[in-house]
Amino acid sequence: MKKSVFVGVLALAGASAGVAAAGTLDDVKARGTLNCGVVTGLVGFGAPDANGEWQGFDVAMCRALAAAVLGDPTAIQFVPTTGKTRFTALSSGEIDVLARNTTWTFSRDVDLKFDFIGVNYYDGQGFMVPKELGVTSAKDLNGATICVQTGTTTELNLADYFRKNNISYDPVPIETNAEGQQQYLAGACDAYTTDMSGLASNRATFESPGDHVLLPEIISKEPLSPLVRHGDNEWADVVRWTLNALIAAEEAGITSANIGELSAQAGDAPEINRILGTEGNLGEQLGLSADWAKNAIMAGGNYGEIFEKNIGEASPIGLARGLNAQWTDGGLLYAPPFR
């Protein structure tokens, strides 16, 4: 009942928003600020720091987008959203883009009428165990007690995985991540399972993070993607190609350190020239200035730099690139060609 009402409201909103927001790009330019929906707080992905400045992996996407469209990475109105308010905020037009570790699923894309513009982080469910157990693979967890959040897809994925591998486990149901962390540390369960990024950020807060290992198996797909409203393809293109520019920049070796030099004049690499606007008119085709991608990359660096700064191995979270490496390095990041 509750869900059907909710979906009904969304459908109504989708219908009206399609009319209202025909030209988000023009709206943003006229307004002079980008309304970017972010998380109210998630370690590494988005949170205000001690000075009240928003920082994080998803926030960097907003900054790159504001830089590409408006030329100023600070021309952003951040709108914090919770898991419950995020979709209505987007479909009602309160925000222009939602960059809030949201998993790309069929029903959200089709039924809720959003456009997911491309995966910026490949997450997946994993396991954390104490090092002293000597477990090296999830398949060794036969008969283990596992802390898992109830009522989430995490619980279902866990059951599926163990059934498929024909091993048994003993679930310890928990309500919130904070509770899971406490239970796991108190030894109430042998292993804790949730998304890998969540496990890593949990482990970073432990007194001795080195005593816990993340197992290599990933048992579910959680592709996180920024999203925009259905039906405004020009705006969706702008957001999609801003993300692609960040990814392509890493592949092409454009960094915040050498971008000044590379963009000063057209060099020998045509792809770099086209991205940075020293050749061709890609920016014009998007309805942006010629140096849009240069601005986007200068806002926080290329994809690799953003990753390393916020959630990479040098940061307190310490996530490995894994699936989020370039396709040339065995990952899944594969930006379509800029031509």
Partner: protein, 432 residues
């Protein structure tokens, strides 16, 4: 008589024996303990058990408090200082106190403004709370909302000035016309006030300086405990008059007014507050034309006020119902009209009876303001759950932060409760 004794008795004492001290078991601390703690063996057992419980709690908490670390920049640094000992990382409070109290976007060089507004709150509340103060002090109370608004939000001073002028003009019109008819007075007051605000709005737009004397702070930058206080104080002070009107309306003889009040009260009481907050945050955005930014705090204030006023109306209705019918008839027999009878005879008695219920709702309302964290407003709890626990420095600190939040709320709620007990003694509502 004395002679006989002088011969027959060897010694007659002629002074009084100095009083000997009472037995140890009948005096001082020992007696108090025997009477209060060990009077029967059951009580003795309970006392020992209670002492043991206190000991256990003390052993658990005291090292945590005494070893507490107050100066480190992050949880990791705090743990290094503690070296595995038990101790609280209170440095999260010293480092983020400003975010906990004011939110993370309120300009830090302007913290004195909400601070002064908070202190003035006591000056404004005193004349209302303590009847023995001179009645003239109520002028401070009447001016306070405008001063506090100006201090906290800043911007041009013309906005609160014209808001105040509107009320003054409305009251002047009411005072002139009310002798003719109560309804005429009310309608004239509303019309005059609205006209003043409209003209004032145009003047403000025209002459407002680009650089106001106090920097303007938009509503979305409010946060922390300040937001809880703003919501709590505003909604409570608005909902009491509204609740009185609703309670009277529910008793009205006019079917239309009665029906509207009953439907309103029953609807609001049948819906959880969190639903109303979602309506304020999410659903209203669909009904308003795109591009309008109807202030979120204002939306939330309206919703919480409506919610609280329905409950207060029911409490006051209880007070009205408790009055004997003779009181109403007394008003009629004195030849008072309805407003006079209500104002002079019925309401003072009914409100007196309603005080415990109203205080109960006030405490609940104040604590309910933390629900706004669910609709992504950064009140005290929202600040803790969002930005602070999501920062790389402080992820993993729970007890210290939520303990601090509990302490702040306890101080306020306990204060309200103590005041209401004092007020009940003053009005001696127990005589019934």
């Amino acid at each position: 008589m004395s002679d006989t004794h002088a011969q027959s008795v060897a010694f007659v004492r002629d002074t009084e024996i100095p009083a000997s001290p009472p037995p140890v078991a009948q005096t001082g601390a020992v007696r108090w303990m025997r009477e209060n703690l060990f009077s029967t063996w059951v009580n003795a057992l309970l006392t020992v058990a209670a002492l043991y419980a206190i000991y256990l709690i003390g052993v658990a908490i005291l090292p945590w408090l005494i070893n507490g670390v107050w100066t480190t920049p992050s949880l990791t640094a705090c743990r290094e200082v503690l070296q595995g000992k038990v101790g609280g990382c209170f440095s999260v409070l010293t480092e983020r106190w400003n975010q906990l109290l004011f939110g993370f976007t309120y300009p830090s060089d302007q913290y004195w403004r909400p601070g002064i507004a908070f202190l003035l709150l006591f000056a404004a509340a005193a004349p209302v709370m303590f009847f023995k103060l001179p009645r003239k002090l109520l002028i401070i109370t009447a001016l306070y909302p405008f001063v506090a608004y100006y201090l906290i939000w800043g911007g041009t001073i013309l906005t609160p000035v014209f808001a105040l002028l509107g009320f003054v003009a409305g009251y002047a019109a009411y005072a002139r016309l009310v002798k003719g008819s109560f309804a005429l007075g009310i309608f004239a007051a509303v019309a005059v006030a609205a006209l003043t605000w409209w003209i004032g709005g145009m003047i403000t737009d025209a002459v407002a300086p680009a650089q106001p004397w106090l920097e303007e702070v938009p509503s979305r930058d409010m946060g922390g405990f300040m937001l809880n206080m703003i919501l709590g104080v505003t909604c409570l002070s608005l909902s009491i008059p509204l609740g009185i009107l609703l309670a009277l309306g529910r008793q009205s003889n006019l079917p239309l007014i009665k029906a509207v009040c009953v439907v309103f009260i029953e609807f609001i009481r049948g819906v959880p507050l969190i639903t109303l907050l979602f309506v304020a945050n999410v659903v209203l955005a669909y009904f308003l034309p795109p591009g309008t930014s109807f202030d979120l705090i204002l939306r939330v204030i309206i919703m919480i006020t409506l919610f609280a006023s329905a409950y207060i109306a029911e409490v006051i209705r209880g007070g009205l119902a408790a009055l004997p019918k003779g009181q109403y008839e007394a008003g009629d027999s004195l030849g008072l009209d309805y407003p006079q009878a209500m104002r002079l005879i019925i309401l003072p008695q009914a409100l007196k009876i309603s005080i415990p219920g109203i205080v109960n709702i006030a405490v609940g309302l104040f604590k309910d303001t933390t629900l706004v964290s669910v609709i992504s407003m950064f009140d005290l709890v929202g600040m803790i759950r969002g930005p602070i626990l999501a920062s790389a420095e402080w992820n993993g600190v729970y007890w210290e932060l939520f303990g601090f939040a509990a302490l702040l709320f306890f101080v306020v709620c306990y204060g309200i409760s103590k005041y209401s007990q004092w007020l009940e003694r003053q009005l001696s509502t127990g005589h019934r």
